[in-house]
Symmetry: C2
Subunit: 349 residues, 2 copies
Amino acid sequence: MVSQRQRSPGRPTLEEVAAAAGVGRGTVSRVVNGSPQVSPAAKEAVERAIADLGYVPNRAARALVTQRTDSVALVVSESEDRVFGQPFFAGIIRGISSSLAETPLQLWLAMAQSSAERVRLNLHLTRQHVDGVLLLSLHDDDPLPALLADRDLPVVLGGRTASMLGTPEAAPVSFVDVDNVGGARLATTHLVAANRRRIATIAGPQDMGAGVARLAGYRDAMAAESRTVDPRLIAYGDFTEDSGIVAMRHLLAARPDIDAVFAANDPMALGALRVLRDSGLRVPEDVAVVGFDDSVIASQTQPTLTSVHQPIEEMGRAMVRLLYDKIRGIQPDAPYIILGTHLVERDSG
Amino acid sequence: MVSQRQRSPGRPTLEEVAAAAGVGRGTVSRVVNGSPQVSPAAKEAVERAIADLGYVPNRAARALVTQRTDSVALVVSESEDRVFGQPFFAGIIRGISSSLAETPLQLWLAMAQSSAERVRLNLHLTRQHVDGVLLLSLHDDDPLPALLADRDLPVVLGGRTASMLGTPEAAPVSFVDVDNVGGARLATTHLVAANRRRIATIAGPQDMGAGVARLAGYRDAMAAESRTVDPRLIAYGDFTEDSGIVAMRHLLAARPDIDAVFAANDPMALGALRVLRDSGLRVPEDVAVVGFDDSVIASQTQPTLTSVHQPIEEMGRAMVRLLYDKIRGIQPDAPYIILGTHLVERDSG
DNA sequence: AGCTTTCATGGGAGCGCTCCCGCAGTGTTT
DNA sequence: AAACACTGCGGGAGCGCTCCCATGAAAGCT
């Protein structure tokens, strides 16, 4: 075993580059960091030396002195298994990753599943380890955003909690979200316009912003059409397909005359489709179904699923934009970004 | 703006812990790193000081001196969009992440989509930035593994290239893979046993190990049953659903009498199902279909899809195990791990 | 010409940590 | 009693970098 103190010979240091270029350490540092205070001649010499030696700055050394790490953490604070694999996360990560590629920032992925892991994680989410944090999939009672904000680490949430729905400008942390209320309204209004009379909804969990907002949108739209909502037209799920199945059975049992269902996400809509088929009801002839997500599966169901589209990848990109501005101390135009949705009509209603 | 040189007051250093505990820097370091050369009294004093002050070691400073970073990169070297969102990746990441949680290692996520990004990435995959690299989704001509191995950075591949299929012990880098040949054999033999006479296959891309191996398994099984394989029974796709559609159409055009299809992954099987339905053929009565992946969609298709199961999460965990051993300089039992598969029978055949 | 201002430059100090050397104190052996 | 080994400990050196200050040269001013 080679001694730890030995530097691997292949990796040149700043000092060696300086020697090769015939300049001082300071000048090389200035060139590397793009300072304008360098003469063209010196700059050229340094650049050639860097290329010749294959110099790559040592991040640890730089981080030690600048107190910046040039990395951000993506924290998926969710205990359930299903988190990944959901096309939602896939899309967000794609957006985040492609956006980060345009910055000097590196992405750290942290999944905190058990609560022990979350404690450990919390300890490491400090300025000396990351420059900022992207938080995904929050339940309303998650203490993490507050903790991080206290430490004043730049934080951006993907989505928001129910408490931030009413007055987004008062939200304690920045966030990027889609207009869930508007999207749900779109879906419901669409069903009304299609002459559906008894429109039910399978709502999401009421401890998550998206669940609350999509139900609010449904209520809004129904109220706008002066439809009173029989409580038996509302069932709740937890965004999984199984919960959609259970909810749909409840709805059919309570109100067998339902002729439309708006499900708060695609997996639950899938569950609904399954139950309807098993009950011998035709979609869309007997019951129309509209989902929310416009995920890949929406075009693969039978019949294909009408669904509210949300710009997921753009959400990821917006999160990075907001966070990067914060990290650089740039005051963003707004502390939050809300993206629009639109309805993609397919065969189910 | 506060000067960069200022230490944020909240974060105590080793030295401050030492002062608080009334010991020297060395002793604190020994306690933090679990050295046995510390008296119980000193150890206790240091531990209390750490707890009191909320001390967390500075990774940059540690990395600077140890030349280790305690982080590994997960490189998804794939230019296509679809990469994420595939349940395959989701599962692997879950396995990797849960396994890493038991080590001191942190996960860096790097996706290199454009080739410019790949150059930049390659520069940063050095010992001074990461302790090891996990590589996913390789095409046979990917130069990255060789480059990294040259630099002698510990590397573990997820999957393997076609050239490593024959003699895994001769593979230039460690890898974790499933027994694709065996899985494909399982699927094919199952169709034979179900009395299918004209069994076609939709093979994957032949520049990827999985594509080659699954086709080989099909051929093996057919040969074992002394069935000659009409070349018209083989079509090729690129693992996407669309390519499965095209391939299935080709097969039906060339051999309308096909009564079974083995697709090299689930999305292509999905495409096949779609074409068969559109052609008025019943599944499984007229044509049986078997996929490979046993992904979530397999149980959601109509009819549900019989598919070869691979232990994806376990694959991720095995990759981490192998890499962590390498990083610590532990000679692993074998430089590679091949995991088994089994068939999950559903309605499609 | 003599003065000030500007600019490019070299190199010291120090970021927070680990490694290692040497010292003191205790115990063991001859 | 002397000689030696071992254990626990303190603190110097140094990892590779950025920041900043001092310096000298060039340029601009009266």
